[in-house]
């Protein structure tokens, strides 16, 4: 252990690391491993057949697909919102800034009900979309809308501080060197924002995968069409099929962990490229 220890002004490496491990074990590892242990009650063929029924496979596609799409949209618009909040001064800016956090605080069920009411065929927004042939509520599109709603703050809040740290001098330098606005953004500002944007994307994505409350109200929950995996897990729990429920959660865990790991590796790689030691 002592080889990891570095001299530091603030003591307490052993204590801090010990506490961290204990805490992570209690809060994260033990509950998660319980899922694996419970799943182990099943044999491999049983597990496989539960985890790969057509209905379940459709739910994976929907969950991960809609989450990915929502996180992508959030990365784009979150960046825009962060940009506006950092770069411009306008009346009511503080209020807009506070609004961004609302999806964090709002009970997700409330969000789901509100969105459903808005986008249903007779809702404020839905009544205009319906004639155009666009159905939002009770379709996968509605799931996407709900996931976009809950994921927005993650991108804004990770990008915002980084954007604040970018000196305007860099843009001025680019301008004096003859770069136009687009070149300045793509070559100077975006590379600096990219790691933070990836973090925000990963957080929004992870949050969307696990989202339940807001989605079930707007989704319509039709098997094979608008049924997300977390809902299937709940359904199985309600039928006292604990092993089946944990089997699905193990699959979700493994996929989520792999995806997040890939995103982290991408981020590490891009950071290394720009900050080679």
């Amino acid at each position: 252990m002592s080889s990891f220890k570095q001299y530091s002004i603030l003591p307490g490496f052993n204590l801090a690391l010990g506490f961290t491990l204990l805490y992570l074990s209690l809060i994260v590892l033990i509950p998660l491993s319980a899922a694996f242990i419970r799943t182990a009650e099943l044999t491999w063929p049983e597990f496989w057949s539960i985890a790969t029924t057509p209905r379940v496979l459709a739910s994976y596609r929907l969950t991960f697909g809609a989450s990915f799409a929502a996180a992508t949209v959030n990365a784009f618009f979150g960046l825009l919102v962060a940009w506006v909040l950092v770069r411009y001064h306008f009346p009511g800016k503080k209020i807009v800034d506070a609004l961004v956090d609302l999806p964090f605080a709002l009970p997700t069920a409330v969000a789901g009900i509100a969105l459903t009411a808005l986008y249903a065929g007779n809702g404020w927004i839905g009544q205009f979309l319906e004639p155009l042939g666009i159905k939002v509520a009770f379709t996968p599109l509605g799931i996407f809308v709900a996931l976009t709603f809950i994921g927005l703050p993650f991108v804004v809040r990770t990008v915002q501080p980084v954007l604040e740290d970018i000196e305007t001098e860099l843009e001025e330098a680019a301008a004096t060197l003859g770069a136009n606005r687009w070149q300045t953004f793509t070559r100077v500002i975006f590379p600096a924002l990219y790691p933070a944007l990836m973090t925000g994307f990963a957080l929004a994505f992870a949050r969307a995968i696990g989202e339940y409350g807001s989605v079930i109200f707007i989704a319509g929950n039709m098997p094979m069409i608008s049924e997300i995996t977390p809902l299937l897990i709940i359904t199985k729990l309600e039928q006292y099929d604990y092993a089946g429920a944990t089997a699905l959660s193990v699959v979700m865990l493994v996929i989520s962990f792999t995806l997040l790991l890939i995103i982290n590796l991408l981020q590490w790689w891009s950071r290394r490229r720009s900050m080679q030691a």
């Binding site: 001098e169 330098a173 301008a175 060197l177 100077v188």
Partner: protein, 362 residues
């Protein structure tokens, strides 16, 4: 290329950064904008660059109005105090940036860009760092890269905003003599901002002294140092002692000391401020029958070949310190010790009659 600035004014809220400033920068000269912080020197530089727009007034480049031209089109090289290098690019990419962003029609070929960048890196003596990233370089190296990057686009004028402000004393000195040599080779019209009077006097062809959004004096380093136009310039350039005196028909009195000042022959019973540089104060152990001021040594500070004395005049109830600088040899000759009584006499002084007291620092 010459730069002409005609009655520029600029206001930030209630703060006046520039107050009807006019200035001529000759083609090929190295000009220093010198002043304390908040004097408007950086604002003036940024308005010339096009990074800031003035509320009124004009900027002419080579006689042509450039006031409404965008920074991009002004062809100025700008060097920032904190380098502003692009972190995600190598040194080579940083210097090549200005060439790479040109529209295809005007962009040199890859080989040409490579040659030009390497030539510039060679010029700033850092060609061996081409593949590094900015954070791997020292401050002095970064600033030289920033200069190479600015020169890569072959600007018509070079503008430097406190280019050495963030560097330590030794690197500062090296870089400023290096900048002077570079300028002598390239003869590009250059304007640099500094608050360091030594830097301005050492490097520039001409110095513009600014204060509170106005130009106080423009002149060669010798002119502004030896013939300051007003008390502000006197106090800002180098250390100076201030004495209150009476002035009457070509004679001035500082305490008991009487000095001939023939240039003020017409003065009738005036109050005047007398300035004396520390190195122009003579220190003697005895009065020698001449007029001199009695003073007591309160502090002795030896810095290299110079000894700085802090003295307090006798009869000075407020105990304003008087600073004198003498050579180490002279100091040994006199064998001075702290607390001793000596006689001081200004070798040269400048009088400013009737200067409003409120404009003075002390």
């Amino acid at each position: 290329m010459s730069i002409e600035v005609i009655s520029l004014s600029k206001q930030f809220g209630t703060f006046t950064a520039l107050h009807d400033v006019s200035l001529q920068v000759h083609s090929g000269e190295l000009l220093a904008l010198l002043g304390p912080s908040g004097s408007g020197k950086t604002t003036l530089l940024r308005v010339i660059a096009g990074l800031e727009t003035a509320d009124s007034g004009q900027v002419l480049f080579h006689g042509e109005d450039a006031t409404d031209q965008h920074v991009r089109d002004r062809q100025v090289g700008f060097v920032f105090q904190h380098y502003a290098l692009f972190r995600n690019m190598t040194i080579f990419q940083n210097v090549a940036f200005g060439l790479n962003v040109r529209p295809k029609k005007f962009r040199p070929s890859k080989e040409e860009i490579h040659d030009r960048v390497m030539k510039l890196l060679h010029l700033v003596q850092l060609d061996w760092l081409a593949d590094r990233y900015p954070h791997q370089l020292s401050g002095g190296q970064r600033q030289r890269i920033a200069l190479a990057r600015a020169l890569a686009v072959e600007p018509k004028v070079l503008l430097l905003d406190e280019p050495f402000g963030a560097l330590d004393a030794k690197v500062r000195k090296e870089l400023r003599s290096w900048l002077r040599r570079l300028h002598d080779d390239m003869h590009i019209t250059s304007v640099f901002v500094t608050h360091d009077q030594e830097e301005a006097l050492e490097v520039a062809d001409r110095v513009v002294v600014m204060n509170e959004g106005r130009i106080e004096q423009v002149g060669t380093p010798d002119e502004v140092y030896d013939q300051p136009a007003n008390p502000f310039v006197y106090e800002f350039l180098g250390n100076v002692n201030l004495f209150h005196s009476r002035l009457h028909r070509g004679r001035a009195w500082i305490g008991d000391l009487e000095v001939d000042v023939p240039e003020h022959a017409e003065a009738e019973e005036l109050v005047a401020i007398a300035y004396v540089r520390p190195h122009e104060i003579e220190v003697e152990r005895t009065q020698n029958g001449e007029a001199a001021l009695a003073a007591q040594i309160v502090h002795i500070l030896s810095v290299g070949p110079i000894v700085r004395l802090e003295l307090v005049r006798e009869n000075d109830k407020e105990r304003h310190p008087v600073h004198a600088e003498i050579s180490k040899e002279r100091f040994r000759e006199l064998q001075l010790t702290k607390g001793e009584k000596v006689f001081i006499k200004p070798r040269r002084l400048d009088l400013f009659p009737n200067y409003p007291q409120s404009q003075l620092k002390h």
